[in-house]
Symmetry: C2
Subunit: 248 residues, 2 copies
């Protein structure tokens, strides 16, 4: 499994992904699931993947044009004129890779499926955030749905719904994502540290901050322990329940 | 979908279930998913169901021996000598009902599948809590796994993991379950109020408290609103994140 979240804030984009891949619980590995392309002053594009690892690695290789000699590479992702074009390019590649592996043609629950979160900004365009489906089509984040999750999305969703605020600082957004990841990691063995973090500042057209939360990260430990304590104290602060008979 | 939780406390058992059933989002109904049998001084048995409604209703009817004349009914669930016998009886009926509907024989992902939480106490036996699978076999709650969830289990699990305490009062347990249900209801349209609650006091061999949380329950509204506020305040109390560069 996998857990990745892309958040759109008024001040920029925040991405977080785990790094655990597994093929059964007895075959786990660490692979990067976050990929960033940037040309200072022109664009910054981040992509996170969930699903079949062969599929997602093939998509990334194709985006990087790794089939060409290093000198001949001029990948489309660095030439596209808008984020919409990039999403179309990525969606097309994703669909193609899945189809090339699926003997029976494209089916919705193919083993080779993968889902992608794509976000960034190009030139004078707005910052944008997309979720790309295995079928190659995509949806875009909006004011009403300002974040996307892929992979094991459910455990970490309640806190995102409750605490997300489009005006929040980057630091608070990273903290929020760490809490969401902690809930997921606690509940699903196939999601795990290290975590990759990328923070893109709106209109900077620069890489921004890239950061890896290692397995022994002291701040993550603080959050993980502190969140249990904070949740219990929040729970205790709620008004007590009384059985109806007792209130009559 | 459905959400049901059975909690084992040192002082007794607490059950909560929602009442929404759906066959597509355009066909929703309210059905009871919690069923209790009790004979004061002898036994109290509670059963909650998730899955195919035709299957679960058939199991309940068979347990009640509704195929017999009312005067001839003497259901096994009131005669079994231990909770283990009851679990075996229910598991056997469940497996039989599923098999009778599945043309292709028993398969793990059958459309007719259902899962059951069963708990209670009989005579001099201990209070016990079981989860019964569509295959008819079952597992029992223990000190390490003191609660079972069925249906849409993920959204409401983090708070259960963090705040459950075997020593907690019945009132706190109901409050905890309401928070867990609130998170689930907020995230999944197919789980909804009213909620059924049953609290069984250990060694009482009596019905205990049975309660329905209606759609406009003022306490549930308080919990639902208050939990959002409490979560955000718990989040704010956690130590702030700083990017590594800023701490150098």
């Amino acid at each position: 499994m996998t857990y990745c979240v892309g958040l759109m804030l008024n001040r920029g984009l925040v991405f977080m992904s785990d790094t655990r891949t597994n093929s059964g619980v007895d075959n786990i590995s660490t692979f990067r699931k976050m990929f960033t392309w940037h040309v200072t002053g022109d664009r910054c594009i981040t992509l996170m993947t969930a699903g079949n690892l062969a599929t997602t690695q093939a998509v990334i290789s194709l985006l990087d044009e790794r089939s060409k000699e290093p000198g001949d590479r001029n990948p489309g992702i660095l030439e596209a004129e808008s984020m919409f074009q990039v999403a179309t390019l990525v969606g097309g590649l994703l669909k193609k890779v899945i189809a090339s592996n699926a003997d029976t043609g494209q089916v919705a629950d193919s083993t080779f499926n993968a889902t992608i979160i794509l976000g960034g900004q190009i030139g004078a365009g707005e910052q944008r955030l997309f979720m790309i489906y295995p079928e190659g089509n995509f949806i875009e984040a909006s004011y009403d749905t300002p974040f996307f999750q892929i992979g094991e999305t459910k455990y970490g969703r309640p806190i995102l719904i409750r605490a997300y605020d489009p005006e929040m600082s980057f630091e608070d957004a990273v903290k929020l994502l760490l809490v969401s990841f902690d809930s997921t990691i606690k509940a699903n063995l196939s999601v795990s540290l290290p975590l990759d973090v990328h923070v893109y500042e709106k209109d900077s057209l620069d890489l921004g901050r890239v950061y890896r939360v290692q397995a022994d990260d002291p701040y993550f430990e603080q959050i993980s322990t502190g969140w249990g304590v904070a949740l219990r104290s929040a729970f205790n602060e709620l008004p007590p329940f009384r059985f109806p008979e007792a209130t009559d």
